[in-house]
Symmetry: C3
Subunit: 262 residues, 3 copies
């Protein structure tokens, strides 16, 4: 039997909505260590990886590992039926073909349960090796979202260049060129507003803005975002989820030639 309970149920809604633009169907993998999900986007370009550790739940019981296939748009529909302060419980019997979402109002005067049919989804689980990154930028997640949105009004790709002084986001399009520089800046009083750069080597990589904009749907999950880059690896855009885990997006850089053609 699976039964997991989260007092801060609105977190689940944010997690599912953060993935919804990229992922249509996916398996939710539950085991004694926690709940995780891994999926490629529909065009097989970006990878999404979610981890919610069991310790982060207010109650966590998972008798045996199970993989539950679901359509994320449907999950989103159900979770949108919960109020922001509802307690959320997910429950499934062993070998069941349904997953039940229960929402309880804090005063227990309204209790909703939604029984959702599960699906069989073929998926391969990629092993993502831990890597050392040449440049790691931690910055306010809203600032990153704003920059991706602003540059999209001008061009299709963004060049992210990291030096010790700061991180530069550049694009060009029919109407002109744009450069946005965020300087390293370690505000001590509001650490979530600081931009911090850790680097062993400067990096400059090009990405499709369309994907970056999809990643920023995770902005409500965390005040900060971490962007890890190496010249020969996919970028990792990571949003930490409270004390529980993370939502990570992986995207391969565009080869320079491709960018020039676009």
């Amino acid at each position: 039997m699976l039964e997991v309970r989260l007092l801060q149920g609105s977190l689940l809604k944010k997690v599912v909505e953060a993935m919804g633009e990229l992922v249509v169907d996916a398996n939710l993998d539950c085991s004694s260590t926690g709940v995780s999900l891994q999926a490629m986007d529909s065009s097989h370009v970006a990878l999404v990886a979610l981890m919610l550790r069991s310790e982060g739940f207010d109650h966590f019981r998972c008798d045996r590992s199970v993989s539950m296939g679901m359509n994320l748009a449907n999950v989103s529909k159900l979770l949108r039926c919960s109020a922001p302060d509802d307690i959320v419980t997910l429950r499934a019997d062993d070998d069941a073909d349904t997953l039940t979402f229960m929402f309880e109002s804090p005063k227990q005067d309204k209790i909703s349960d939604f029984e959702m049919k599960l699906m069989d989804i073929q998926s391969e689980h990629l092993r993502i090796p831990e890597a050392e990154y040449q440049s790691i930028v931690r910055m306010p997640s809203q600032e990153f979202a704003r920059i991706c949105k602003d540059l999209s009004s001008i061009g299709d790709t963004v060049v992210i260049s990291v030096t010790k002084e700061g991180v530069k986001f550049s694009t060009r399009g029919d109407i002109g060129n744009a450069n946005i520089v965020c300087r390293q800046n370690t505000s001590v009083d509001k650490p979530e507003e600081s931009t911090i750069i850790e680097m062993t080597e400067p990096v400059s990589l090009t990405f499709a803005l369309r994907y970056m904009n999809s990643f920023t749907k995770a902005t409500p999950l965390s005040n900060t975002v971490t962007i890890s880059m190496s010249s020969d690896l996919p970028v990792v855009v990571e949003y930490k989820i409270a004390e529980m885990g993370y939502l990570r997006f992986y995207l391969a850089p565009k080869i320079e030639d491709e960018e020039d053609q676009s």
Copy 2:
């Protein structure tokens, strides 16, 4: 001559917008007792009944009973030209083919008058007999609106079941089933947040969610809604209007067979 005046003019706007999704054209009936309106929705399934008693107006003069045909979308357009704190006056001469709406700002520095053409509308006035209902639920109107909206994302019909413990709203659809239970709950400090059940017999009836959602357009009129049900009668969904009257919606339950087919 007809001349009625309402200091809290925004109430009229709410009343007209509450009916606008169901009723296209209707006769506004004015007599010395007040202003009333009765209309079927365009598919002749639901009935809307409005009553605004003369005592509720700040000034009320109606020399002889008159029935004025109007298009509610046009009335809504005019009322949307009033500010939230405007004083609203309706005025019509005897046998006039127009109705004048006057809006006065509280400081009297802006005065608008709109003369609207009246229409001839054939309508039969149904006599709605007073009835004893087996179950009457009074609950927060926003909660009811939220439940109807949430269930609509899953199914087309709602089963409303009342027992002494509470009221249950259920639906099913392609993605699964849903049950939302509101427990009887008599918060003394905030009576408008309580859910109160009066029943002589448990009832369980099925309704089209589409209509229920249209009824909830009346939510801004009142903090609470009253749902009166008997197994052999149309449900009455009633929104009280301040000290003046009510807006009631009547809808026949679906026969079980129909629901199974859907």
Copy 3:
């Protein structure tokens, strides 16, 4: 070289958005006295005139007069990439075919520059003679915007009639007639809320509401609007821009016959 700097950069965004509904492409004329722009709307009915005097800028350098052609939608796109409290600098080299917009956050931790390509635009500069107007109405800009919007839901044209007592806005349409009267009203405590009428002669002129509604896109620029009318001249609808200048819209009145036909 041209280099102008404005601490209150959001003002430029408002100016460009105020003109954007009427003007597609236009020349921005810069000289030592300031920045100005004059353009007809695409149907050559209304004229827009902008003036931002050099004293109003926090830094102003314009070595020689220059006329820079630009697409206002593109300028709007770029300015939307600035934050409300950004400092905005425009810079162009002599004979350059680009104009650079630089946005600096107040803490200087984010610096964006956008290089926009300029266009060649043929335009004739109209000389607008200074005139004496028979009636000048100064009123709250939001009130004027609200009235134009409200009347548009009923008719296509507005008759603006000024007398010593006040200004009346009238329209008629299929559903009926409307008259909105704003009385002269000189609230001393909040001068921006007053309606002030200066007149040598009463005036009553008819205008297309479509244009009036476009002019009111300038409402965010100023708390008040000034409407100057004479029976044989285009109306001038003017929004003052802080201590810097103005945005003026000119529109010829409709001939009575035309109005009757509509």
